[in-house]
């Protein structure tokens, strides 16, 4: 076996108390396409960041041609021939294609000769096999073309390891196929291509070897012909579930609160259909790019759907603004606490009443701070927010407590339908269980809950039913009673599509 181009040698990486990677070893050889697969949060991104010098390993070493190297930053990695391209390409929107390719090249002279530049750019673009006008300004390019520009830039600098991180997640089927051809071509030219994708059929199409990562650990590396999709899925999810989430009894009633039929947002998702009953918790599962949040945003009126119907309490509604959704009793708790959820520099008191401020206003428009404090204090006790009082800034709280404050804000609206996007992301196990109890409690009192979660054990423990999406398509709805991680994952990765009876007739379990 020849010396690997790049290898990770017992690499671990921790961020504070979190172990993102533990003792991962992996070799990359010239001329292979090496796929890395794993669930969301398994540690794939951390691996890439270590290979490209954005992060330094906490222990272990990165080796290039067998020598341990310190990659101080993306530039050092680039100088050694390691380049990554991402789902969102890094191009200069104001510069044209040719210049985008050569902007940081050190091999060109001081003055750029337009004709020379165009000729070289043409040669590189041809090598990738794309049809692209090198004089076009990058802001007008499609995502696939921007990625081609990035690949061409990498090629202009003698790339040896090209890392492609979810490159096809935002591409159409046709563009994705084109990009896979490019990856294959480069590998045949001797480049070592690292390919990260959630689309298993892609992996089987182009990879020579596959590495499975789970919970920051290296699970396996095998040649592609020694593995099967089922086996790969089993390895990706194969953690001990350990029952740290107790399965709560369902409280679902036959009364339909929200009926969704063929909901479509052009170019984003299509034909989503389900019923949500009072007392029910419906979980939406799927991988990155499944477009679950987009469905939620449509139901909350932020990104109105372009097709299909929504009935709420038996009447058809058109949801076009968040205000309207809120007036109907629909609340949406965002997955992004920091940006979209909380005002970090404001105290708990102000955050809790933010969505319902008009209630605390006197006729002259003055806010009754005592009443605010009373409400906030009531939630602090009810949701067990661990602070001495409600005057502390939300930014000072732990993730779990922040999540509770965000929940309090929306509960104070007294919604009947609660849409909760990634309710437990980045919070510790204890707080997770508490948030789960709060959600169950909300349902038990007659509310309906739509939970979006990438945490499979959570989905299985909390959902009465599980709706699985993949790239904007509803793959099926599973009853919690007969769902398991493998079944959900098989749907989420597109290995099967549910053969269960049509969702719209499905009664709650």
């Amino acid at each position: 076996m020849p010396e690997p181009v790049l290898s990770l040698d017992h690499v671990s990486k921790s961020f504070g108390m979190t172990h993102a990677l533990s003792d991962v070893s992996m070799d990359l050889h010239a001329g292979e396409v090496h796929a890395i697969v794993g669930e969301n949060g398994a540690g794939k991104s951390t691996m890439i960041k270590i290979m490209t010098g954005i992060h330094q390993p906490s222990s272990g070493a990165v080796r290039i041609d067998g020598d341990a190297v310190t990659l101080a930053g993306p530039q050092t990695a680039r100088d050694r021939g390691v380049v990554a391209i991402y789902q969102e390409p890094m191009v200069f929107p104001d510069l044209d294609v040719a210049e985008n390719i050569f902007i940081s090249s050190t091999k060109e002279g001081w003055f750029q000769n337009r004709r020379d530049l165009r000729r070289k750019a043409h040669a590189l673009i041809d090598r990738i096999g794309m049809a692209l006008d090198v004089d076009q300004v990058a802001s007008g390019l499609t995502l696939a073309e921007q990625q081609a520009v990035e690949i061409a830039r990498a090629l202009s600098q003698d790339v040896r390891v090209l890392i492609m991180d979810e490159p096809t997640a935002a591409l159409s089927a046709h563009e994705a196929a084109q990009l896979r051809r490019v990856a294959r071509t480069l590998a045949e030219e001797g480049v070592s291509v690292v390919y990260i994708s959630h689309r298993l059929e892609e992996v089987f199409e182009i990879a020579d070897r596959v590495t499975v990562i789970r919970d920051g650990q290296h699970i396996s590396t095998r040649p592609i012909d020694e593995t099967t999709p089922d086996g790969m899925i089993a390895e990706m999810v194969g953690r001990e579930v350990g029952n740290y989430f107790e399965k709560a009894p369902t409280t679902a009633t036959p009364e339909v609160l929200l009926g969704v039929r063929d909901l479509t947002l052009d170019g984003t998702y299509e034909n989503i259909s389900f019923d949500l009953h009072r007392g029910e918790v419906l979980c939406m599962a799927g991988l990155i790019g499944a477009r679950r949040t987009d469905v939620a945003l449509s139901l909350f009126g932020i990104a109105p759907a372009t097709g299909g119907t929504v009935t709420y309490k038996g009447a058809e509604v058109r949801l076009t603004t968040p205000r309207q959704a809120m007036d109907l009793g629909i609340a949406y708790v965002s997955e992004d606490r920091r940006k979209l959820g909380l005002a970090m520099e404001m105290p708990i008191r102000d955050n809790v009443t933010l969505a319902t401020l008009s209630r605390y206003q006197s006729r002259a428009g003055i806010i009754d701070r005592a009443a605010e404090a009373e409400t906030a204090e009531a939630y602090r006790q009810r949701l067990n927010i661990r602070t001495p009082d409600v005057e502390i800034d939300v930014g000072m709280l732990s993730g779990g407590n922040q999540q509770k404050v965000m929940l309090a804000k929306w509960l104070n609206m007294e919604p009947e339908l609660l849409i909760f996007d990634e309710p437990t992301r980045g919070i510790d196990i204890g707080a997770k269980a508490e948030v789960h109890d709060l959600i169950r409690d909300f349902a038990a009192k007659g509310g309906a809950v739509l939970v979006i979660s990438s945490d499979l054990p959570e989905v299985l423990a909390m959902g009465d039913r599980i709706l699985v999406m993949r790239e904007g398509v509803q793959m099926g709805i599973l009853d919690a009673a007969d769902a398991d991680q493998e079944k959900v994952m098989a749907l989420a990765t597109g290995q099967v599509r549910s053969t269960a009876p049509d969702a719209r007739e499905g009664e709650p379990a």
């Binding site: 191009v91 099967t228 599509r497």
Partner: protein
């Protein structure tokens, strides 16, 4: 029409638009003001725009990197005074060391701005707002509130800006204007052809992408401020030569005019695009309107500021609307070219598992 509109680069479109507007303005005033369109108009505008063109050129480089330099007016004032004092003390000094002194002096101020913005990471609007006041105070302190008068300056210096290099009828090409044109063209060539200078565009276009592409973004931003300082220093020298009398208010308000000239000239205030030729035309347009309004009897002279404000708003709004339209047209065109295939997912039932 639409086809042509799509093929021409946005910058070429802007320059054409500016030239068109310039002609319109000249035509308009020639119907309003008696004896308007003649050589004297050209001579007057070209003399007064020479200084602003240099400042706007520096300002453009800074704006390209997503920053702004509000201290240029104070830098012009300080260097004008310092250069004047120097030549008063040493009347035998030749033009070359004097110009060098002015530019190095300006570049020194630029270093202070650049270091604070690029390395200390303080937003440029804050840094230069503060240094605008600080440099001005430095001038007051340094000058001891005294003025420089043209009487104390050597004759070659005072007569330099109005030296006629070429006379065609009433039109005179004066040395001051020639210097400005040479500098603008030189910087334009550098910005469009010189590889390290292209980094100003790259950094302003996408700082993240620049970082990932291995461009030293801090050094680039620093260089932009140093260049803007040096050009402001050169403008200070020209200011001294043209006016001779330098007080503590020299160059006051130049910072805003230079920003106006750049923006009217199509330089994107969010960085990444624009040309110094555009900024030069912008400076001419601003100056032309300014000068012409004085002679237009229908409108009070006090409306000059308002007209300048309206011009900035109008040019930026029109530019934004046009560019958005252009972007949409291009997208629509691409959409036509590459119709997405219908998703195949519906057919996938059991694949690869066999």
């Amino acid at each position: 029409m639409t086809r042509l509109f799509l093929r021409v680069s946005p910058q070429a479109l802007r320059i054409t638009g500016l030239l068109f507007v310039l002609c319109l303005v000249v035509l308009f005033f020639s119907t309003q003001v008696d004896n308007y369109l003649n050589g004297r108009l050209f001579n007057r505008i070209s003399s007064s725009v020479a200084i602003m063109a240099l400042i706007a050129t520096g300002q453009t480089i800074v704006i390209l990197t997503r920053n702004i330099d509000l201290s240029v007016g104070s830098v012009v004032g300080f260097t004008a005074f310092a250069t004047g004092s120097l030549v008063t003390a040493y009347p035998d000094m030749g033009p070359v060391p004097l110009v060098l002194f002015a530019m190095v002096c300006g570049a020194g101020f630029g270093c202070i701005n650049g270091a604070l913005v690029a390395y200390a990471r303080v937003p440029s609007i804050i840094v230069t707002l503060a240094t605008m006041a600080l440099f001005r105070s430095a001038l007051v302190e340094f000058s001891d509130a005294k003025s420089i008068t043209s009487g104390s300056l050597p004759q070659w210096l005072v007569s330099f800006p109005n030296t006629k290099l070429l006379t065609i009828g009433q039109f005179q090409l004066r040395a001051g204007f020639a210097v400005a044109v040479v500098v603008v063209v030189l910087v334009h060539i550098l910005l469009s052809r010189f590889r390290p200078a292209r980094r100003f565009y790259a950094v302003g276009s996408s700082p993240e992408a620049a970082e990932m592409a291995g461009i030293n973004t801090r050094a680039t931003v620093f260089a932009a401020f140093v260049l803007a300082g040096a050009l402001a220093g050169l403008a200070g020298f020209m200011f001294l030569a043209r006016f001779g009398n330098i007080t503590v208010v020299a160059g006051l308000g130049f910072e805003l005019k230079s920003v106006a000239a750049s923006v009217v000239g199509g330089v994107n205030i969010f960085g990444g695009s624009g040309t110094v030729i555009g900024a030069f035309l912008g400076a001419i347009l601003v100056d032309l309107i300014d000068t012409s309004l004085v002679r237009w009897q229908l409108v009070s002279e006090f409306w000059r500021e308002a007209v300048l404000g309206a011009l900035i708003l109008l040019s930026v709004t029109v530019d934004t609307l046009l560019m958005r339209r252009l972007f949409r047209l291009r997208q629509a065109q691409e959409h036509e070219a590459a119709k997405p295939k219908p998703a195949a997912a519906g057919k996938v039932t059991k694949e690869g598992a066999a």
